[in-house]
Symmetry: C2
Subunit: 149 residues, 2 copies
């Protein structure tokens, strides 16, 4: 019986590392998110992009990319996918003919109207084992770690 066939493997110093636990929590949330919004087939990243377009109608692909931290060349395919699914519209920019003014289509808008409360409920479910005070603390800790460049 070789190691790992039945029992657990040794993890060494990993369980004590913040980074390891952060990664595991993030994977858990990501997978759970997929299940929660499964009928709509939207990833957390796509949800973020759709939120940004919804909240900043008319923004350009470049500015969107800067905001979510991906290159403008990468953004092309991201918008291609959302546009081909009929969720996002590339409208001509009124004052700059090089760029697009991105906005949600009516389908995209109603998708988000449905999705936002669903995502918020899912998010609450991820911290259901934490008390309200602990939840506040947890988000505060996460923000402080993000800032600790």
């Amino acid at each position: 019986m070789r190691p790992g066939k039945n029992g657990k493997l040794a993890l060494g110093p990993l369980p004590e590392l913040v980074g390891y636990n952060l990664r595991k929590a993030q994977v858990a949330v990501f997978q759970s998110f997929q299940t929660a919004v499964a009928p709509h087939d939207i990833t957390p990243g796509q949800f973020g992009v759709l939120i940004m377009i919804r909240e900043n109608e008319g923004l350009s692909q470049s500015d969107l990319g800067t905001a979510v931290g991906i290159d403008r060349s990468t953004m092309v395919a991201v918008i291609d996918r959302l546009e081909s699914r009929g969720l996002v519209v590339r409208a001509p920019s009124p004052n700059d003919r090089r760029s697009y003014a991105l906005r949600l289509s009516p389908e995209g808008q109603s998708l988000m109207d449905d999705l936002i409360p669903r995502v918020q409920a899912h998010d609450q479910g991820m911290v259901k084992d934490l008390s309200p005070e602990e939840q506040v603390q947890f988000i505060d800790f996460l923000r402080r770690v993000s800032r600790a460049k």
Copy 2:
């Protein structure tokens, strides 16, 4: 002046979501990790794989994949890379001729001897703005979220 050119964009409900803050913290840790161990060119994922091999010498690729949550077909290229860099050895398994017994090479061992304290120091740095009590709490919260399937 279109939105986003100078000021920040609106983020809508994102900043209140645990998942969003978790993702941001994880990205920050990942990038910082890369910088901290830059001379060795090791990703957090590779570090995890090397730790598992170090702590469970002789394990197979399949068992390793199961432990770190990736498919055995994906593990092939992961080990290929570490083997071609001279860090990991595919030794013949003594009792099953289908599988390999993975172990660190001497180079891999000394890399890890150097890397482990470096990673631990980096990890501490990520939570340097949290008090010792808060750090304990933080890891506890992360584990509870991981379990909240």
